[in-house]
């Protein structure tokens, strides 16, 4: 198995013991200011280019989304929604979709393969593909419907937040490519502060519900949005209002599992102790005689 030597891993999938975490780095975040996005898809192109991926040439169905959904090649996607407000004016909302890099990642919680999903101490959630077994559990764990399983190699793929670039002090490719600086990258603290300025500005311009999307249901995220309508994130192509790891996933991956295992072990142990205390259940001579007689009486 290939190794990814790193001394700053906060969490690792299907691993119950501490990870090499002597090195602690500062938490990072990508801030996507939806109000500054012009929907040019430069970020999508930069993502494909940096990660050396090619999306299939698709077809036009009359909407701007291209491709139509995230895929094993397209780790980020501009989603467009047209929202008619009560006063009759139309809002054209554009959201750059992709992995949110949750502080409490559902994909990592669901993953059964040791070390296939890791979270670095800077908050980035990364898929270590050579450890991925292709079961698709991450898809079930994710509250944002992000991971995609490749039809070719059956491995799961998603945005890495350019962990390879970040590791050497570079910003993610999408950030570099954005012509309006709608995407910025830095420490989570700085990004939160910067978002505050942007939100104050938006409020001044009449967007009284402008706010930061950093959902606490998943412990906060390392990809955050500045939304003009933070009170209604769902109007941005179904961005969940209060995302959290599904209670089904919590039940599936939480305390019931070790309890069930202990229960099974206890059942086997009870059997063993029943045997050594009560002794085997044996047929004696008397039973054999009676059995024989029953058979003989009937001419057997």
């Amino acid at each position: 198995m290939a190794t990814q030597q790193s001394l700053d891993i906060k969490r690792s999938s299907a691993t119950t013991t501490p990870q090499p975490s002597v090195r602690e780095s500062v938490e990072v975040a990508k801030l996507i200011d939806v109000s500054r996005c012009i929907g040019c898809k430069a970020c999508q192109a930069a993502c494909l280019e940096w990660n050396d991926l090619r999306e299939e040439v698709g077809f036009n169905t009359g909407v701007y989304e291209n491709p139509h959904d995230l895929s094993e090649n397209s780790w980020t996607l501009m989603r467009y929604s047209e929202v008619e407000e009560d006063d009759g004016h139309l809002e054209w909302l554009i959201r750059k979709d992709g992995c949110m890099h949750c502080e409490d990642p559902g994909c990592l919680k669901a993953c059964p393969a040791p070390g296939a999903i890791v979270q670095y101490s800077n908050g980035i959630v990364d898929f270590i593909s050579e450890n991925c077994i292709g079961c698709g559990y991450c898809v079930k764990g994710c509250p944002f419907n992000i991971p995609r399983i490749s039809k070719n190699d059956r491995k799961a793929y998603k945005c890495t937040l350019c962990s390879d670039r970040v590791a050497v002090g570079q910003g993610p490719a999408c950030v570099k490519a954005c012509p309006t600086q709608a995407i910025s990258f830095g420490t989570k603290e700085d990004m939160t502060e910067w978002a505050g300025h942007r939100i104050a500005d938006l409020k001044e311009r009449g967007y009284e519900n402008a706010g930061l999307y950093d959902p606490q249901g998943v412990g906060g995220t390392h990809v955050m949005y500045v939304l003009k309508h933070a009170d209604r994130p769902e109007i941005y192509s179904n961005l969940p209002k209060d995302p959290h790891i599904s209670s089904l996933v919590e039940a599936w991956k939480g305390w019931p599992k070790p309890v069930a295992l202990a229960g099974l072990g206890l059942t086997a142990l009870l059997g063993f102790f029943h045997y050594v205390t009560a002794g085997p259940n044996e047929v004696d001579e008397d039973d054999e005689d009676k059995g024989k007689r029953t058979l003989e009486q009937n001419g057997r």
Binding site: G134, G136, Y137, R154, L248, V249, P280, V283, N298
Partner: protein, 211 residues
Amino acid sequence: MKPRTGTVSRYTAGARANHWLNAIILILLALSGMSFFHPALFFLSGLFGGGVWARILHPWMGVALIFTFAGLFIRFWRYNIWNKSDTQWLNRIRDVLAARDENLPEVGRYNAGQKLVFWLMTIGILALFASGIVLWESQFGDTFSIVQKRIAAVVHASAAVVIIGVWIIHLYAAIWVKGSVRAMTRGSVTGGWAWKHHRKWLREEAAKGHK
């Protein structure tokens, strides 16, 4: 083959082969499945050539199991219909575990414990098969919604725990009750074993010999 004197035939060669094929597949399914169940058991995937191979093989073994278990179900379901004396037997489970057979009602081909094993296995395997289809990413990844897959994951894990628990009880009963294993390895049991554990069945079998 005619059983030797003093013995009663219990399982045909076909039934025995069917049972053991089912048993082998079920054990392989449990081993590969448990590797995904808990990190502490992931090493079991090594028995199948690693995590990816365990993930590939597990569902196909599940498909095979549906056929072998259907064979067992068709062979045995009519002997596993619940009746009043089964409830009586179950109410006296303390006497069963203490081997005080004199306090127990006469038992036919199967006792209440065996019948419970049969029906729990049936329900459990059906639940595992149905939820397993929904979880089968490579074949049905696009067919079901994420919520359906989450429900299937919970059902699959729960049913697996029940089935493995039932299997432990089934195995222990075979070890504890001496003379039982030969029914499934040689096809016959001694008259004494039948008298002690399945007296009603012995009488019926003996009466058949009269014909």
